[in-house]
Symmetry: C2
Subunit: 385 residues, 2 copies
């Protein structure tokens, strides 16, 4: 098995792109990544996307991507694992390069959630849950997270206000990310005043509906230094799974799939959580940030919120998260998020994260969550520069 | 790169499964394949599916599959390339085993097209075309194929009746396949009398809307003989692509993606078309069967129909196709079709194809087409028994 490295990155701003179609988003991010890698073609393109069939009546995003990007007869198809689709596409790309079946691969994540022609976005997002046992009973994805948050507060005695720093920190970091949807600070007071969407999930606990695309170019690690001035090695790619319906999980607050995914990744990379310089986690909701920190070994059960309260999740903290704004402030174009996380991790590892640059960042982790914790994919990345 | 073999197969009957959900179809085919391989777990499950998000409001089929099959914390996600989703899932599974990132993989194809709760099936299928330039203008998938057939008849002087044997042969072979949707013969007269759906595509030129699931278990070829009494080696897996919108193709009747896909496969396997004992092609429409035979090197341009007229596509002919009924008679549950083709090829290579068994079948080819020719995936399989 060949080691795999990232030699190029690209992204569109995350925004409500009312005048831009899904093919244009793919084009912009994809060509930008090829340009960054200083190459013109690849052997395969794998597209992470969740909603295009439901929302836009467009399947076959692989074919659409290579067609519109002018890549002609290049292998391409779509990979889907709800909100973890981006990381799943990266994993398929990693397998293609690792196996030798491809040398250069473009892993591209894209989602266009505004301007829907088909099913309304909230209804379409509910497809990430169990359609018959959850969504079919009327529960939305926000409501599922609200149940988890409610239970967490009940079990461990936290109040809603204790979660504020997850949102405050993400927004503070988004200020310096030109591709973030929200480049503005919020205060703990604003967080507390925000209207409830599904109690106890308030407006500022939740990531926004938005559009965006991000892409990375993969190559065999052995050639990466010849191809890129600052390649990043994929030290680990690992998947954890849990039952799709939350009610089928023995211990929903354990986020079991994150635990197995992260610990498999630690084993593959032979590192410990404390070796990591930062952790781009899946803060689609503040409760998910807390659960992910705990399941991934950064805090004990019920203590994830304490890390936020103590300021340990900031750029100066022990476990910097959401360093470029995270899902909360950069935005969460669902099928693209897993690739955005990796693009931002690469920026940190290249030393190109601007005002948000972490000193001497060498080792970072990304974690992408699909379906309220059913599919969780963790990658550990190391700068080779 | 490790060679990969198939050590287990499973399938549900193809039918209108009005009382069976998508999770039950996956369960039946998946467990049947595990049982056939005499194993209880795998390292990963890749699900080929096109329509579940649009039709059933269910994404995350990977998580649903492992959850409902009792496979617990097993890596799983969905792979989509419209009607070529099944073969794309097989290709991802092949990459996983080839790379060493997995040893045992279940590649599962599933589609439930009846009993839709979301978009109506014909509208959902149009998502395989270009949503903005084709489907958005009102053309259905049948109509796209009708345009290709019309042009073919005009270019080469064939009449509608000349295509009859594609449907007649498929139905004749379906009679002996207990899993085929149509287990009844049709006559050339019945073909000619069938109502037009979109001229010149008649009812008996088109494959049916239906439900089904099929699965194969993959393992490293080096261990295959120890694991299975009759393993089948994947000699080649190859993808060809063409522009998504038919109007963007320089020569729509060339089926360029099939040509590159098949010829890449021949090169990888180091075989010629005439070395193959049979060819499970993608006869979603009779015109696709003709174009695929030509593009894959079995007939000259415009002469694919002649093979059917001469009886060369029957079990006794030079190029047996649709040996268990093909898409026309076995049925075409779109995202599952690519796996059904491989399951049937394995039956032939194991000598277990019953009344339709080809004598001394050793080498077979499958070809799965997505999006009226945009994504075409070819596999060459060889019996190791």
């Amino acid at each position: 098995m060949r080691d795999v490295a990232i030699i190029g990155i690209g992204q569109t701003p995350v925004d409500e792109h009312w005048t831009t179609g899904i093919r244009h988003l793919m084009l912009e991010a994809g060509l930008s990544a090829l340009q960054d890698a200083a190459i013109e073609t690849v052997d395969a393109v794998y597209v992470g996307n969740m909603l295009s069939g439901e929302i836009a009546g467009q399947s076959q995003l692989g074919a659409l991507a290579v067609d519109f990007m002018g890549l002609g007869n290049t292998e391409a198809f779509k990979v889907e694992a709800a909100c973890a689709s981006g990381a799943a596409a990266l994993r398929v790309g990693t397998m293609a390069v690792a196996s030798g079946m491809a040398n250069l691969v473009l892993a591209l994540g894209v989602e266009k959630m505004t301007d829907t022609g088909g099913r309304e976005t909230t209804a379409a997002l509910a497809a990430a849950a169990d359609a018959e046992y959850e969504a079919g009973q009327g529960i939305s994805f926000v409501a599922l997270n609200a149940l988890l948050m409610q239970r967490y507060m009940y079990e461990y005695g936290w109040k809603h206000e204790d979660f504020a720093n997850f949102a405050v920190t993400a927004h503070a970091n988004g200020v310096n990310n030109p591709n973030a949807m929200f480049q503005s600070r919020i205060s703990a007071e604003a967080y507390a005043r925000a209207p409830m969407i599904a109690t106890p999930v308030g407006l500022l606990d939740a990531s926004p509906v938005c559009d965006g695309a991000a892409a990375v170019v993969l190559a065999p690690a052995e050639y990466a230094r010849a191809l890129s001035p600052a390649p990043v090695k994929i030290r680990a790619s690992a998947v954890g799974m849990a039952p799709l319906a939350v009610h089928s999980r023995k211990d929903p607050l354990a986020l079991e799939a994150a635990r197995t995914s992260a610990h498999k990744a630690y084993q593959l990379a032979n590192v410990k959580p404390e070796d990591l310089d930062f952790f781009e986690l899946h803060d689609a909701f503040t409760i998910m940030a807390a659960l992910s920190l705990e399941a991934s070994g950064f805090a004990e059960r019920g203590k994830g919120v304490q890390l936020a309260l103590d300021g340990e999740i900031t750029l100066q903290g022990r476990v910097p998260i959401a360093t470029m704004g995270g899902l909360k402030a950069r935005g969460h174009p669902v099928g693209a998020t897993g690739i955005y996380q990796v693009v931002e991790a690469v920026l940190q590892l290249r030393g190109l994260a601007g005002a948000n640059q972490l000193p001497n960042a060498r080792l970072g982790m990304t974690q992408n969550i699909g379906g309220s914790g059913a599919t969780i994919i963790t990658h550990i990345l190391e700068g080779m520069g």
